[in-house]
Symmetry: C2
Subunit: 352 residues, 2 copies
């Protein structure tokens, strides 16, 4: 299995991300309650991966109760998928997309879920290609790339966003080294990104988040590549906590800072970064690491989940359909969204 | 016991820092081998605390073998103290200082060790007072102060450096809140600074290092206070990894960034920051936390122990004998070192 989530032999297959990096366990799931459990305990995470998982979940619901003959029990089962993580927008979107085909029966649902999967795969390939082209243009030679959090295939279906660019550079022999930050508090960089980089055979060294500024200032990297949770119309980018610090460090070091995210991340309803609410998460994410207490559990904690980086600190935003070079005056509203994505090289596309 | 290390009833008493924050254990040590073991397993850490521990260790050696009657065995025992941590400069200095009194006998050694202890205590009080005066001058009202690593009494004898300023502000009712960073990889902020802040009753919230820039940019702090491992003649300051990122974030947020360290930290033999070598430490500090594996142990790691912050990013350097306001043009070579320290208020001095 090379994908985070896929449909194989009439079942959903998922890499259990809670077991990484220690164990690579592929879950084969053919009933809805087991899938709901996997979603709830974060065996699968990342917006695109959750969307595709939701879509395939509707197929499992249709296998249990025929959507045409027994719509009530089918719909009740589908609801349990959507409610597995109520705040995960993409999960609900994936469910809705598959559900729209329900009146045409189970095979139509499966076709809709496949289409969503393929769309995510195509988007990742396109971001990787456009991003790698940009990095080569900006750096002019093989590059060392710093990144934060996990933005790879594990968060998507395959390849990912910022990490897709690193993978593409590596496959073009244009990557000297990746420098993933561990990404406290949940350590997605240390646990997941290092695992993906090792799996793709890309040279890399892990850093604590606090080391980024110094390592960049010492000239040890050529470019910073990050993902995005939401991009406002003015280019303000909400992403994992630590991204703003990384952007300030890149500016200080005089190297490009590039945001890589699907076009769907650009939110036309959000005018500026100031309109993005900052979610504060539970303190025990900070006072304990993987179940081990590292500070008194009574300690009060300020644990913002993400931060907002203003466009002045961003060199370019790369989506699956365009490259917006903010650093030389482009804006999201002056660069048209492309009709087509960058196509993957034929030899590298994955068969359906 | 209110001091990290002290001499009480003919023995050394130490807070066992390896047990914090879970347990507050005071070790009572009256023989050299036990003291050497405590030093080696980092029960006591921090340059000033190690110096004083070394001084009292020489007293324990003199209790075992009279330095006048049996100088060879006395000196052999003293060597084991110095060699407990060969790279800890202050440990050797503390040993030498006490040893210089050895020909006058055991009580003279004890007096020399007491003098070193009292000197460190005085220096901490002075830094706290000068620093708190400066913060009040810069901020103009009660302040929220962000800090990194552990720069409190645990690293010294009592009060500390940057944390001494925070304690002084708190005692003057001029502290709104302290915002300690957890300080990966060794988590001195999460484990030790929160413990000290709780102990002094100062309101505080713990943050992951990566949250600092965003929290400062949101206007949630008024000043950043950090310690220093070494300060070059040009003001470049080597300190715990993450300090440079914090200085960049303070500049971006438009708030003062203040270095607090004893005058002895200013190294006349180091002209510029470029001359300061960066020590890379072992990767397992990053791939495991308190014994729990968080990344594949085979992962390559880049783990610089400290970074260098240039004077352009520093508002002021506060020592126990002067305040150098770099932000308004002062330099280390244009501001005289004071003859006297700021005296602690009489009611707050600690009896010998």
């Amino acid at each position: 299995m090379t994908r985070t989530v896929d449909w194989l032999h009439d079942a959903v297959e998922l890499i259990d991300q809670t077991r990484l990096p220690q164990d690579e366990v592929v879950l084969r799931i053919d009933d809805v309650p087991t899938l709901v459990d996997a979603i709830q305990r974060l065996a699968v995470r990342g917006a695109p991966a959750l969307g595709v998982t939701g879509g395939y979940g509707v197929v499992l619901a249709a296998d249990a109760h025929d959507p045409v003959d027994d719509p009530e029990r089918f719909q009740a089962l589908v609801r349990t998928i959507r409610e597995a993580r109520p705040t995960a927008v993409n999960l609900g979107r994936g469910v809705d997309l598959a559900l729209a085909a329900a009146t045409s029966g189970r095979d139509a649902i499966l076709a809709a879920a496949h289409a969503l999967r393929d769309d995510e795969v195509e988007a990742s390939w396109s971001m990787g290609i456009l991003g790698a082209d940009l990095v080569t243009d900006l750096v002019g030679r093989p590059a060392t790339a710093m990144t934060i959090c996990n933005t790879g295939g594990l968060a998507c279906v395959e390849r990912g966003t910022a990490l897709a660019v690193i993978q593409e550079l590596h496959e073009r022999d244009q990557l000297i080294e990746a420098l993933p930050l561990e990404t406290r508090p949940l350590l997605q960089g240390g646990r997941l990104t290092t695992w993906e980089l090792a799996r793709m055979g890309a040279p890399h060294r892990l850093l604590v988040d606090a080391a980024a500024a110094s390592v960049l200032a010492r000239g040890l990297a050529d470019v910073v590549l990050v993902g995005a949770d939401r991009i406002a119309r003015d280019g303000c980018t909400a992403n994992k906590i630590g991204t703003l610090a990384l952007a300030l460090a890149a500016q200080y070091a005089g190297i490009p800072f590039v945001v890589v995210a699907p076009e769907s991340t650009v939110d036309p309803d959000t005018a500026t970064g100031a309109a993005i609410a900052i979610e504060d998460r539970a303190g025990d994410e900070v006072t304990a690491v993987r179940g081990i207490q590292i500070a008194d559990p009574a300690t009060r904690v300020l644990n913002p989940a993400f931060d907002v980086t203003p466009p002045e600190l961003i060199t370019a935003i790369v989506t699956d359909r365009r490259v917006v070079r903010i650093g030389r005056g482009d804006r999201l509203d002056t660069v048209a969204v492309g009709d087509r994505r960058a196509p993957a090289a034929p030899s590298r596309t994955v068969a359906n």
